[in-house]
Symmetry: D2
């Protein structure tokens, strides 16, 4: 985790104090359930809640851990310092460290998912707003980086909206994947802890009981979670790359908002660089790199090993913090993006009329010219425009083979931009449920 | 794709003949829709269906492509050879290659998903059968590869069942992700092809129309698809690793079925090696490696570039064929797995009684011994068993500090195996919906 | 492996016939060494060479393997069919399958490396030629996709040359990594086969004996090999991305060679798309994806397991065939690349004079203006050029605060392009050893 | 970076104070060179060294950066606060941020490599010591996790030594890859800064001048660096997995050193878990995951973009800190590893004599039995041992078909363990240069 690429709410989820607080709640709720079942005395369960408002002392717990070399035991020892060692006697009874650690980790991931879901909703709102704002802003569509046919900037925003809307669904699915808890004791048989303890703790903490655990919660869930984050990050990169292209000097159809105090370059003061989206490109790689180790974590040995732990201590915070930051940064970029409609038009008309070549091709075939001949006719005139910058429509009007098939009026009609935008409403309706 | 790790049904999906057949259906249905809309003559649409029973000549299409260097044009040229070049004049009108290629690729992936879903159902059936068969077969549970507490072999199968059942859901979600089609023309504006053509083609081919495409279908869908395959492959590895461990000479709790004709080793004829599950471990890596390139494919430039294509030509067939083979092989391994319950018991009793140490610990604390003291008492006796192989129960009965807290009868009771299996029914009910 | 992305020489390395030929040579040389040591009769060793000119019958070997389910035994059985089963009695004596398989695989990788090294030399020659050709072709340098300061197209080629020259070194190191052989018998102790057999076989086949093997050759070697290929592929992507950028409609400083018969787009006949470099971008991903599984292969269990095998059967051919094709394709692209110097100049002058802003900044500070003030002065004028397209030099000459520090002549001097190219010779000397 | 998996010397390399110190040295040396060339006044160059003993105020620099949003400018502003803003006027003249940032990053990576190289030397020393200690400690070799033939524990250590020795070479190569510096100014043309400045700075800081840079140092170097780390990490995993296997309850041929105060399990006090090597397995994944993003960083746009930066801010510290920790931990594990030779013997004799089956097979063929028959005879007796635990030698002596070919004395001779260790000296000589 790099502070400059992080936001406080997400960071807070991963603070030691948060972790210990969650551990505490798991233990305390478990004690309640055990008291309900008559396994431990009610007063001991009650006593645990004495620490309800305590902020646990991380340094003290670390100190104990340095001695015991076991984090959960260190915490329980510290808890006893608050609750009284006699009163705390039954805390964690029949449970294993994994019951606490895994349930806690899933709670942290679930909360992280909640933030990411909210981030995504914010991004969707920004994309939607900009889509409607530029619904009819004409822009050349490009394939292979080469001018193809006209489209609108609104459609660009709309397709990012649709992609991010799918990502919202994926994040929700990912949240469900890891919103489980397990209090199943050693090797997951519930021999030492009743399944109803797990049910109670999960109900209190908003989790589903893991149907079958093996001391640990199965890691295919986490693999699926991080895979979903990797997909979302790849979509962030997708939008970022689009903006970086748009901001290129030669294209300049859009630019990241540029505050006057900001220095673009220590050497070249005029430069306005798309540094935010370049940064997002890198952040996407960081999130994506966590997918494979999360998948490698699935195959634990027998009922559990601890190889996954160091991986998760790292990728748990790093992937969620980085993606949270990236989504917020992207939302901000979209929100304030400077859009230059005049440059869009100027770019489109760089090879005058050329973008209409497909329409002319169709018209020729519909007028009875063979596909092969039509292709040849269009290509012949198109290449001239490409090479000399002359006007495509004029060239066509001067090509006897073309005018033998199409009248001047028919040719003119092919250069109507409305032809290309006639289904924008339809597409908006598909994407936003309204046009 | 390696022939030895492939099965014919999945391979068939990726044959050129299948691809051309799908291309044909897309074009033919599109012609129907265009005729319905009055865009092209009905008789031309009808004429296309003349090729309905044709198996397209791959060599001939390759020959044309060698000249035109464009696969879709090559196919259309060949189609015209069947249908008549005048009749075929309107085929593909207003469409782009991507309309055909992307819709086809998604159909192939959808069919591949259908096979994988069926594979998974087969695997689930095998796991379920073996789970019930060994529901009460006692086996030591292990954490860190070290004996922990007893469990049953049925629970091992049941947890793989639960994991694969989640994977079944993931495969279904993945199928939905890519079961879309797009006939939206150049840069996706529908300028040259009516949206109703897309709707008709998709309806005929069992797809959902892509709400907004940009000449290509957005690749976040494919990233999510391959990510799901990567998760499934990681679960395959998980089961494979378990079996490889069980088959180790020193453990030998299970073994892959071994046919007598098979030679385990050219040098050491007695060896029965877990080569199938070792192979599955490698196959899992092969499937998993496709996840990152699929994610790198998301960020295409503007309305499309073709960088994704070579990646997908490879990982499309490779990941699905390999995973299909892996799931089938794993099903077979599970189905025929030799299970050795006596060895399980022998292993568990290697350090006699030691696996009950947790119960004794609990009993001591419940009898009023402090947690710290109880831990010390148990550890003292446990280490002796570990080092000398003596009997844990006997050691406890001879330890005055222990017997001061627990009576012999109380100690004896802690060594009842039924204690560890008492919730197997509960867990089976959670996993299978019945016990 | 996808036929369309492959070349015959590299494919041939991975053909079954090549593999069996190598197996044969390993076995035959091993017999010679064993005869030298008096371990087997000389006449039996000699008899093996009777098959010297045989092309082994792959179908027959497959047939035998179908029965024995062991590839090396199947081959040895087939070999005996040629040599005579009595004569062949001592073939493979004391050896294991891995002795043959691993040594063979390393020979294949070594040969593959030789081709890749030759490919790289071809690419270097092309880059060098184009570098000198365009040594002084002025072009705007860009950071963040934004115009920065002038450079030359020759420097662009030269930097790719330097990068690929490092890759040549990496390929040679990679070749050395895997040019080892092992004939060390079961678990690598040489108990059943004398180390001198290994030495002889390796000497005959151009390999170094593996200092210590464990039935298998250690897989860190292969991990390093595929990692090197991954780096090379990433450099291929680097060059490809540069060309894709240069070919963008708005930039058009270069273009892939376009043969007239080729159809760029089925719909838009005028388009010249950078499809080769887009393809290379995808191929780079395919090579790169093999790095992680090759690394996952390192941790085999004890003296060997077979999990690496299915991975290598796939990535061995796939990564080398794909990279060979990619390097050849890139060489061809570089060789024939259409370079448009006029467009380079036109692009550079899009914001007239602006690229000289850094020089003006320096001149102002050298004339005694504070850094902060100089920055402000330059930025003020630069932004006007950016926004209105006016001429930067004129703006400066009209800015009283600027002319207070610099005379008109001093300002003019800052717009000399030779200032930016004065060290091109120096850099060429560093890269090519001559200017 | 996770504090618990880090060591102070490596962490110090990545501290902001270290970074600023390096930036300072780059700038100060550059001023010296510029003064030598007469480009800036000598007294200004001298003045910069006034800050020689200053520990830069990170908080103050952050404060300035918050305003300027540019890290290098913030540092230079702060430097001027120490040196005097008039004296500092020429600092950084003609340079770009990347000149400072990239040269600094490479210095940090070079220093990190130095630590990793020293770590590796420490690990090699430990492996060598343990190899000689257990040179003749007999142990069963295993393939596929199944007993194969005898080997020695010394050979196991020796093969890890050989692998890590190759890794030492790889680390040195990796160090050379990134021990370069660049002071080449905007877009790398040296237009604003003389190449001799770069030469001087590099000479002072122990770097090689980058032959050709493009404002940034080419990232293929960094890709190769992180790839090397990924290979080393995979070897760490390789050793870790071996130890985890050896410590399994059923195998117990070795164990991580276990201090008495350490609690293995909160629930099961007797357990000695291989938690260090499990942890190393996870850490290996963390290092390995940085390889792909480092490779994705290679293809920067034109003369530079900043997408690599966020990736490197993360993986630079994380990969080196984690690998440093892992190597140190592994060294400690090897150093203190508890080895149990009696258990090794007991395991080997689990199926009495079976591990000699290969020798018997050979003896039979050498006695004139056909390969097929010999295989059948050995397998027949071997399977009986496998299934009943009887003694292989006795079975052979009782098999008339066997004794028809081999005398009892000949059979007995095949069970001499010295046969398997006779080349240990040879192998040690190959690995360590002495036996």
């Amino acid at each position: 985790m790099i502070p400059r690429y992080s936001r406080p709410d997400m960071v807070a989820i991963w603070e030691p104090t948060t972790k210990f607080r969650i551990w505490y709640e798991i233990e305390a709720h478990a004690c309640d359930a055990m008291a309900d079942l008559g396994v431990i005395p009610r007063e001991n369960a009650k006593a645990v809640w004495k620490a309800k408002d305590v902020e646990f002392d991380v340094a003290r717990i670390d100190e104990i851990e340095a001695e015991t070399r076991h984090d959960v035991i260190a915490f329980l020892t510290h808890l006893a310092e608050h609750v009284g060692s006699d009163e705390a006697r039954f805390v964690h009874q029949g449970m294993t460290s994994s019951d606490v650690l895994d349930t806690c980790f899933n709670i942290q991931l679930t909360r992280a998912a909640d933030i990411l879901i909210a981030d995504m909703q914010g991004l969707l709102a920004a994309l939607r707003r900009r889509a409607y704002e530029h619904k009819n802003t004409i822009r050349i569509g490009r394939s292979h980086g080469i001018h193809a046919e006209p489209t609108t900037m609104g459609l660009t925003f709309a397709r990012f909206y649709a992609e991010m809307d799918r990502n919202l669904t994926r994040l929700r699915t990912a949240r469900d994947e890891i919103a489980t808890g397990a209090i199943s004791g050693a090797v997951g048989t519930f021999a030492n802890v009743d399944p109803r303890v797990e049910e109670h703790v999960c109900a209190q903490l908003g989790l589903t009981p893991e149907p079958i655990s093996t001391q640990v919660i199965p890691r295919d869930r986490h693999a699926a979670f991080f895979a979903a984050l990797g997909v979302v990050a790849s979509s962030v990169e997708n939008v970022a790359i689009e903006i970086r292209h748009m901001q290129r000097t030669e294209v300049l159809e859009a630019a990241e908002f540029f505050s006057m105090g900001q220095k673009g370059s220590s050497a070249m003061p005029h430069k306005k660089n798309p540094v935010l989206t370049e940064n997002l490109t890198g952040l996407a790689r960081l999130v994506r790199m966590t997918v494979i180790p999360a998948m490698e974590n699935v195959a634990l040995w027998h009922e559990r090993d601890i190889s996954h732990s160091s991986v998760e201590r790292n990728i748990g915070p790093d992937a969620t913090i980085t993606l949270d930051f990236a989504l917020a940064r992207l939302t901000n970029v979209i929100d304030k993006l400077l859009v230059y409609p005049e440059n869009m038009l100027a770019n489109m008309n760089r090879f005058p009329g050329l973008v209409m070549s497909q329409r002319v091709l169709l018209a020729l075939t519909q007028a009875g010219v063979s596909r092969e001949d039509a292709y040849r006719l269009v290509q012949r005139n198109a290449l001239r425009v490409w090479e000399t910058g002359c006007d495509f429509r004029t060239e066509l009007l001067n090509d006897a083979e073309v005018t033998a098939a199409l009248s001047p009026a028919e040719i003119d009609e092919k250069f109507d931009i409305g032809y290309h935008t006639k289904h924008v409403d339809t597409i908006f309706r598909r994407v936003f449920g309204e046009s």
